[in-house]
C-alpha cells in the first residue's frame, strides 16, 4: 500500500509541474491554482505513504536509495509550497515542481519493498540526521530554482532585450530575497545535519570524522554555502553572484546525495543502486 502511495504521488507531481508550466506559458491563473492543488494533494498522499511505511517498518524509512529519493521529492514539494504561498510566487512552480517530479520518478523506478534496517543505522540519530539534511537540501533546491529565475530575468534587464519571460518572471529583488531566506534556513539545517552525523559517527564508527566521500562532499557543500552566507553578510554578495552560488551549491548537494552514493564507495553506502 505505502509503496503504491509513494510511487503514485509521482503522477501528482507530474500533473502539478505541467500545470505550472502551462501557467507560465499562457499566464492563465487556473493553471497555477490547479498546479498548487495537485502539489498539495501529492504532498499529503506522499506524507501519508511515509507514515504507513514507518508503521510497517518500525524505523524511519530513509535508509535506501528508493526511500531517500522519494523523501527528497516530498521535502522539495513541501518547501516549494511554503515559499510559493508565502511569496505568492506562482512562476516558481515551473522551475521547482519539476525537481520534485524528477526525484519522485527516479524513485518510482527502484524496488520499493521494505528491506530491513542495517544494524549500523539502528539509532535515534537516524531520523534526526537525515531529516535535518533533507529539509535543508530541499530549501536549497528552492534557492536553486529562484537562482535560475534570477539569472534569466537579470540577463534580460541587463542586456535590455526583453523576451516573453520578462513579463512573467518576478522582480529581481524578490528572487534575491528568496535566495537569502533559503540560505538562512538551509545553512543552519545543513550545519546541524553534519554535526549530528558526526556525533552519530562517533557512536557508530568510533570517530567523529573519517573523510568518507560523503563526509568530504558534505564539507565541500557546506563550505560553498558558508562562503555565500559570509559574502552576503559582510561584503553584500547578492544578485547574480548569489544566484550562481546557489546553483553551484545545489549541484554540490546533488553530488553529495547521488553522485557519492552511485559513484564513490564508502561508509555511507547504504543507499546505492545495488541495495
Amino acid at each position: 500500500m505505502h509503496v503504491l502511495l509513494l510511487k503514485a504521488t509521482t503522477a501528482f507531481y507530474l500533473v502539478g509541474s505541467v500545470l505550472y508550466l502551462y501557467f507560465i506559458v499562457t499566464l492563465k491563473e487556473r493553471g497555477a491554482r490547479l498546479g498548487r492543488m495537485f502539489l498539495m494533494a501529492g504532498v499529503v498522499l506522499h506524507a501519508a505513504g511515509f507514515a504507513l511505511r514507518y508503521a510497517e517498518a518500525g524505523y524511519t524509512p530513509v535508509t535506501n536509495l528508493f526511500e531517500s529519493l522519494s523523501f527528497f521529492a516530498l521535502t522539495i514539494a513541501g518547501a516549494f509550497l511554503v515559499v510559493e504561498i508565502r511569496y505568492n510566487l506562482r512562476t516558481l512552480g515551473a522551475f521547482v515542481a519539476p525537481l520534485a517530479f524528477a526525484f519522485s520518478i527516479f524513485a518510482a523506478f527502484l524496488p520499493g519493498e521494505v528491506a530491513g534496517l542495517a544494524p549500523a543505522l539502528n539509532s535515534y540519530w537516524l531520523p534526526i540526521h537525515v531529516l535535518l539534511l533533507f529539509i535543508g537540501d530541499a530549501v536549497f533546491a528552492v534557492a536553486f530554482g529562484a537562482g535560475i529565475m534570477y539569472l534569466l530575468q537579470e540577463k534580460q534587464v541587463k542586456s535590455k532585450r526583453m523576451g516573453p519571460l520578462f513579463r512573467r518572471l518576478p522582480s529581481l529583488e524578490v528572487l534575491d530575497e528568496i535566495n537569502y531566506r533559503c540560505l538562512t534556513i538551509g545553512f543552519p539545517l545543513l550545519t546541524m545535519g553534519i554535526i549530528t552525523g558526526s556525533i552519530w559517527a562517533e557512536y557508530a564508527w568510533g570517530s567523529y570524522w573519517s573523510w568518507d566521500p560523503k563526509e568530504t562532499w558534505s564539507l565541500i557543500t557546506w563550505l560553498l554555502y558558508a562562503a555565500l552566507l559570509h559574502g552576503r553578510l559582510t561584503v553584500g554578495w547578492r544578485g547574480r553572484k548569489a544566484a550562481i552560488l546557489a546553483i553551484i551549491g545545489f549541484c554540490a548537494v546533488l553530488f553529495t546525495f547521488l553522485g557519492v552514493n552511485l559513484l564513490l564507495p564508502g561508509l555511507h553506502s547504504y543507499s546505492n543502486l545495488s541495495r
Binding site: Q153, V157, K158, K160, M162, F166, R167, P170, S171, L172, E173, V174, V235, G236, W237, R238, G239, R240, K241
Partner: protein, 441 residues
Amino acid sequence: MGQIIIIGVNHRTAPVEIRERLAFPPEAMGRALRGLLEKESLKEGVILSTCNRVEVCSLARQGFLGTAEVKEFLAAYHAIPSEELNGYLYHYEGDEAVKHMFRVASSLDSMVLGEPQILGQVKDAYGYGAEFQTIGPILDKFFAKTFSVAKRVRTETRVASSAVSVSYAAVELARKIFGELSDKTAMLIGAGEMCELAARHLLSAGVRGIMVTNRTFERAVKLAEEFGGTPIRFDELPVHLKRADIVLSSTGAPHFIIRKHDVEEVIRIRKNRPMFFIDMAVPRDIDPDANQVDNVYVYDIDDLNNVIDLNLEERQKEAVKAEEIVEEEVRAFRRWLDAQQVTPTIITLRRKYEEVKNVEVAKAVSMLGAEDPKTRKVVESLASSLLNKILHAPIASLKKDADGRNQMELVALVREIFDLPEASGRTEDGDSAETGQTTRE
C-alpha cells in the same frame, strides 16, 4: 426607429488647429447638447470631446439627413464655414458607427494604441448626455454596450498591458528590478520634462522619497517642494548618490556627470544593493559602461524607446484579437437593435387604428342617435373585435422571429402597407424603453 450616426474629427483627419476650434469644453456641453437635439431628425445625442477627437454620436431618424444636420450644427455652433469643415469630418452610420464607437472606447483608434484615458472620456461624454437628458433608450443601451466591449478588450487582450511611454517604461523597469518601490528612494538630477514626469510616476507608484538636485539650487528647492522631496546641492551629489536606488538624470551637461568608477564606488558602499539609472539627457549624463557593473542597470533614452517599441509591437499583435472582439460585439448589438424595431412599429400600428376605430364608433353612435349605454357598448365591442382580428395577423408575423434576417424589411413593409408615419416622437422611445433599457451595466 432610426440609425446611430457618428460625425467627427480625430488626430488623423484634422490638425490640432481644427480640433481645438471644434472642441466642446465641459461648461458648454449642456447648451451644445440641447442645440444638437433641436435639429429635426436627431432624437438622441452624445458629444465626445477630447484633445485628440471631437465626435458627435446621435440617433437620427434617417442616417443621411441626420449626418447633414450634425454637420450643420457643428459648423454653426463653432462658426466654421461648412465647406472648410467638411474636408476634416468623417461620418459613420449604422453598424459602421457602432463599430467605430466600440473601437474608440477600446482605445483601438487612439494615437497611442491601448492608452487608458479614452474610456474615461467616453464615460464622461455619456455622463453629460445623461445629465442633460439627451440620451434615450437606444444610446443608453449603446453606451452600456460600448463600456462592456472596452472592458472585454482590456481583460481578454493585452492591448493595454505594457508601458508605451518613456516615463511609464521607466517605472515598469524599476518594478522589475526592485519589486516593491515603497522602501526605495529616487534622485532627480536636472529638470528635464520627461524626467519630472517619470519622477511623478515613480512617486505615484509608491517610491518612499525623492531627492532633487540642480545646478541652480533654487530650482532644486522649488522642484523638491513640488514633489515633497529633499533638495540637494549639486556639488554634494556624490555624497548623496549612495542613498538613491533610482537615479533620473537629464542635465544639459556636455559630458558624463556620473562615470563608471563613481558607480563602482557607490555600489561598493551600498554593499551591492542594486541601482537603476535612467539617463534621459542628450548628450548623456551617465557613462553607459556603468551598466557593466554588477547590480547596476543603466538605461538611456534610446534603451527606453526600444523597450517601448517592443511593447508597441506586442500591442499591435494584441489589437488583432481586439478587433475580432469588436466585430463580434457589433453583430450582437445589431441583433439587439433589430429586435427593437418591432416594438415601436406594433405600437404605432395599434395606435393609428385605435384612433380610426374611436372616430368611427363615435360617428356610428351619433348616427344611431341612441343614448342608451347598451347600444354604444355593442357598437364599440364590434369595432374592437373587428380591429383585433384584422391586426392579429400582421402583429403576429412582426413578433415572430424577432431575431430574423428579414425583420427590417418586414417592418418597412408593414409600415408602408398600413401607411404608418415614419417612426417618430419621444413617446415611442418611452415605450421601447420598457423593452430595451433592462440591461444597463
